[in-house]
């Protein structure tokens, strides 16, 4: 009998990929309509397909292993972080001797050694260090990030690569984004076809809001150990500033200082439950993580990459949630696009403002707090009387100083009116976004 894989394989182990060849060289009733069973499918994965993995942490390590064993041979990985001791309970490509080294570099070397023929290219840098030409060179981008800002940025980047001809999307400009996320025993995997299915910005409300404690509670009526820790972190540290530096959550001296002061405050108010672990958790905003959830979510993402690259099955449409606290639970559904999505709708977004008397700082507050925008520290420019004017620019210290006075000025004073266009730059997107001011009260221009 002829055993699968007797032909010349793309690497010297001729039977190595026979598992993949069965599903790629045979057809089945659940294949994508475009699927053609052929050795070309595996050849495409091995010879042409170029993947980018963003993040070499818990999900990233798993993703690289999974993708390498699903036949992909040209994988790039970006991560700006170095390896820490607390990574070793799940980031299985790292050892104790690797602590302090680049995650991307160590992971890439490990995979390339363990799976001969697979070449992983590391980039020990930030995603913002690369431009459109770099991102355009990939077939599929997979993100395993813990930062929402970075997710939004790469989402914006892939959307900016889309090209439209007479309003019709040019399919060849589309780079799918597969995104995974985990927290403790919960996780999610999703497939984003930029410009076609719901993007990160369409579903901003899916991210859990960050836990914040009202300032008056932590200052006046603390009840929980967390309140005492927050007090030391946001009020006492800047007052007493023991080392004249900002808090470094990785410096045990800093954590110890906060621990002691928080303990004093807790005793004063009769509050129980301050522990070193809790102090660290609150100061560093630590999210619990285990190996198993990372394995599951990364695997779900890798399966989708395989489906998209080969058409051997219809890809996930488009969101799967996972939770294994009580049994094993998953739920798959179609997240919906937002008609006026800031990133992918191609419709300029309006921002609702009470009226021309609102101050520029009020507008910035809306951009940061409205669930539609959730920006971090937006910079604003506008064309006023035919001239390009910087209204506020927080990222460059000298310009910030010069433009700070504008914050207290009303929109009217700045020459902005209902329908004015603003160019907004923020760390959540690589692109300048255009938003249109919309005043709630109609402008009273006929009242002279």
């Amino acid at each position: 009998m002829d055993k699968m894989g007797s032909g010349e394989g793309p690497d010297n182990l001729q039977y190595r990929w026979c598992h993949l060849r069965k599903v790629l060289e045979r057809t089945g009733p659940f294949c994508h309509p475009d699927f053609e069973p052929s050795p070309d499918n595996l050849n495409f994965l091995m010879e042409s397909c170029k993947l980018l993995v963003i993040g070499a942490g818990g999900l990233g390590c798993e993703l690289m292993k999974d993708l390498a064993l699903m036949g992909f041979k040209d994988i790039h990985v970006i991560d700006m972080d170095t390896i820490e001791l607390s990574n070793l309970n799940r980031q299985f490509l790292f050892r104790r001797r690797d602590i302090g080294q680049s995650k991307a570099e160590v992971a890439a070397k490990f995979i390339s050694t363990r799976i001969p023929g697979c070449h992983v290219t590391p980039h020990f840098s930030k995603i913002q260090d690369f431009d459109e030409t770099f991102y355009r060179s990939f077939h599929i981008v997979i993100s395993g990030l813990d930062s929402i800002v970075a997710r939004r940025w790469i989402n914006g980047m892939l959307i900016s690569l889309l090209s439209y001809k007479d309003g019709v999307l040019d399919q060849s400009s589309l780079i799918p984004l597969i995104d995974g996320g985990t927290e403790g025993f919960k996780g999610n995997a999703r497939v984003i076809l930029p410009g076609i299915t719901a993007c990160i910005e369409c579903t901003l409300d899916l991210f859990p809001p960050q836990v914040t404690y009202p300032l008056c509670t932590i200052a006046n009526t603390p009840r929980l150990p967390e309140h005492c820790i927050e007090y030391v972190k946001v009020i006492q540290w800047s007052k007493e500033n023991p080392w004249d530096v900002p808090i470094d959550g990785d410096d045990p001296q800093h954590i110890n200082w906060i621990y002691e002061k928080a303990m004093e405050r807790a005793v004063q108010f009769g509050i129980q439950g301050i522990t070193y672990r809790l102090v660290q958790g609150v100061v560093k905003n630590i999210i619990p993580a285990v190996a198993s959830t990372n394995a599951v979510v990364a695997a779900a993402c890798a399966t989708e990459v395989f489906k998209l690259a080969t058409s051997c099955c219809v890809p996930l449409d488009n969101y799967m949630v996972f939770n294994d606290v009580d049994g094993i639970y998953t739920y798959t559904y179609q997240a919906e696009r937002k008609e006026d999505c800031l990133a992918c709708s191609q419709v300029p977004t309006t921002v609702d403002i009470p009226g021309p008397e609102a101050k520029l700082e009020d507008l910035i507050t809306v951009l940061c707090e409205s669930p539609k925008f959730l920006m971090k520290s937006p910079g604003l420019t506008a064309t006023i009387d035919g001239k390009n004017r910087t209204l506020y620019m927080p990222t460059v210290a000298s310009i910030e100083e010069k433009t700070r006075v504008n914050l207290k000025k009303s929109l009217n004073e700045l020459g902005l009116e209902d329908g004015s266009q603003l160019m907004v730059a923020d760390s959540t997107s690589p692109n300048t976004l255009i938003i249109i001011l919309k005043f709630a009260s109609p402008p009273d221009f006929e009242m002279e």
């Binding site: 009998m1 002829d2 055993k3 182990l13 039977y15 190595r16 026979c18 598992h19 069965k22 599903v23 045979r26 089945g28 009733p29 659940f30 798993e62 292993k65 699903m70 001791l85 607390s86 070793l88 309970n89 299985f92 363990r114 799976i115 403790g184 025993f185 995997a189 009526t221 009840r223 929980l224 045990p252 001296q253 200082w257 009769g270 509050i271 129980q272 070193y276 672990r277 660290q280 630590i286 999210i287 619990p288 285990v290 190996a291 198993s292 394995a295 599951v296 695997a299 779900a300 890798a302 399966t303 989708e304 395989f306 219809v314 294994d324 606290v325 009580d326 049994g327 094993i328 798959t332």
Partner: protein, 539 residues
């Protein structure tokens, strides 16, 4: 820095390394993990993925049983077999590469076929905490299932077959104290306040307060006060249905202070009180699933061999019948609420102290029971009793079924299959497929579609195997052949991403058994990677 840093136990190397998981299962969960011994049968791709997610968090030790040699095919789906290892013992290579992940873990291997091992060393499995089996054929699976069922060792069987994943958990009995429910309903006892709570709240006069104090009274006190008033006006009854609860909320709303213009003041605590009506105004009862545990034979009729869980359950049962006057021991923690520090902390103390009193009663009873049962007094610590009492309302018990019974048509729950198959696209169809593959392997000693030139004839043979199975079970025939075609397409292929998905899930189920925390899956889990859906069935 002048002041020396306090020596904190949290700073040990180990707690730094395991920090992200200690925040989930705690130091006690970790020490259970570190004393566990796990056995893996067959170092397949899925098998080493399971062990990976157990070695990383630091189980005590693992043992791999596998008599096969590494093949080229193996290296295409298994990360813990490298290209140079072809021809070597699969158990040995996998053990070595897995041990590199964590120097705290011990690992060894038996380079022997599982069938031989079962025959030559029948006591081999006696000391394992959990046994995991992969790539087991029916002939091996059944005796192994029987053996582990008798030994009362949890047995987890996993498969990765093309785009289909499968986990079957076999456990005779498993109990969980810390289930970590997502939304715990607070145990406030507003309907039957205990004396110290009553005394404290009765000493507070809401109406006499200045606005600032009034707006900082914990909502628990507000609910209590208005409930007393309501009960006095309604023959001692609680607001029961939706309408009464709405009425009750509006009486609370009337309590909000108004300013000099007659506009209500901003009182967040009153808003919280109204929001909490639905969940907190209710009769305190023993939940029915806990009632079942307390009424279980194992609880009522303790023996000298009874496990700590059942001894504590019996003591709680006695508490409910006597001191508790029909209620479980108090949980002792209250949710956070807008409040001034002093009153909140006072309430917290009152609940905490009452819970300590309740658990002390239970602990004394536990000690008596241990004495009567001739078990050493240190079998159960006071700390364990406290934990048991704290989580008494979310205890969990499962009694499983054996795989051997499931594979016997006389004892199989065939209605479960037939019922689900009324929808021909129900995930149950893959269970039937995998059972068909088992039957096919038993008859032909290979997987359907394993050989390139046999796919078409294998489709016919697999269809016949499945028809036979279904008729043995008394089920009707399959509605369509699509699934048979798809299964033959796989030809026994193991796709790494499917193995990795199931590997992660199975590792977490293993951790649930070891730590006694979280509810395990009951008892069959199927992953369909084609549509990215999963389903759980109980056999």
């Amino acid at each position: 820095m002048s002041s020396p840093a306090p020596k904190s136990p949290e700073q040990s190397e180990k707690s730094k390394k395991y920090d992200r998981q200690l925040r989930l299962w705690g130091d006690h969960g970790q020490s259970a993990l570190e004393s566990a011994q796990v056995c893996l049968i067959n170092a397949t791709g899925i098998g080493t993925e399971i062990l990976k997610s157990l070695v990383l968090p630091g189980i005590g030790a693992f043992t791999i049983v596998d008599g096969k040699k590494v093949t080229e095919e193996d290296t295409g789906c298994n990360f813990f077999l490298d290209a140079e290892s072809c021809g070597k013992s699969r158990a040995q290579v996998a053990t070595q590469l897995l041990l590199e992940l964590n120097p705290d873990v011990r690992g060894d291997y038996v380079d022997e076929n599982i069938d031989q091992l079962l025959e030559n060393s029948p006591d081999f499995f006696n000391n394992f905490t959990v046994v995991i089996g992969t790539s087991l054929i029916e002939r091996t699976l059944i005796p192994l299932s029987k053996k582990l069922w008798d030994l009362q060792i949890p047995f987890i069987v996993c498969r990765s077959y093309g785009f289909i994943g499968y986990i079957r958990v076999q456990v005779a009995e498993h109990t969980v104290i810390e289930t970590h429910p997502d939304n715990q309903i607070p145990d406030l006892r507003l309907d039957r306040p205990f004396p110290s709570l009553k005394k404290y709240v009765d000493s507070i006069d809401l109406e006499a307060m200045e606005y600032k104090d009034h707006a900082h009274v914990p909502y628990l006190i507000i609910l209590y006060k208005y409930l007393q008033q309501w009960k006095a006006e309604h023959n001692g009854q609680l607001p029961k249905n939706y309408k009464e609860k709405e009425d009750f909320k509006s009486t609370i709303r009337k309590g909000i202070y108004v300013d000099e213009h007659g506009n209500p003041e901003d009182e967040e605590n009153f808003e919280e009180a109204m929001k909490a009506v639905t969940s907190s105004i209710k009769s305190t009862l023993v939940p029915s699933h806990v009632r079942d545990i307390l009424d279980d034979d194992s609880c009522i009729n303790l023996t000298s061999k009874s496990k700590p869980f059942w001894i504590m359950a019996k003591a709680v049962r006695d508490f409910v019948e006597n001191e508790g006057e029909g209620c479980l021991p108090l949980c002792g923690s209250i949710p956070d609420m807008t409040a001034e520090t002093g009153k909140y902390i006072a309430l917290q103390q009152i609940y905490h102290n009452q819970a300590a009193k309740d658990s002390e009663v239970v602990f004394r009873c536990v000690q008596q029971l241990l004495h009567q049962l001739n078990q050493p007094p240190d079998t159960i610590t006071e700390k364990e009793v406290k934990l048991f009492c704290k989580y008494a309302s979310s205890l969990y018990l499962v009694r499983g079924t054996s795989i051997a019974d499931e594979y016997d048509p006389k004892t199989l729950n065939a209605q479960n299959i037939a019922g689900n198959l009324e929808n021909p696209e129900n995930t149950m169809v893959y269970y039937v497929m995998l059972r068909g593959v088992d039957r096919f392997y038993s008859e032909y000693n290979m997987y359907p579609g394993e050989f390139e030139d046999q796919v078409e004839p294998d489709i016919v043979k697999l269809k016949a195997c499945i028809s036979k199975l279904l008729s043995e079970w008394g089920c009707g025939p399959l509605a369509k052949d699509d699934y048979v075609h798809e299964i033959c397409r796989y030809g026994g292929a193991e796709l790494h991403s499917v193995s990795s998905f199931i590997g992660g899930c199975a590792a977490q189920e293993t951790i649930k058994f070891i730590t006694g925390q979280y509810k395990p899956v009951n008892n069959t889990f199927i992953y369909d990677a084609i549509t990215s859906n999963t389903a759980t069935f109980a056999f």
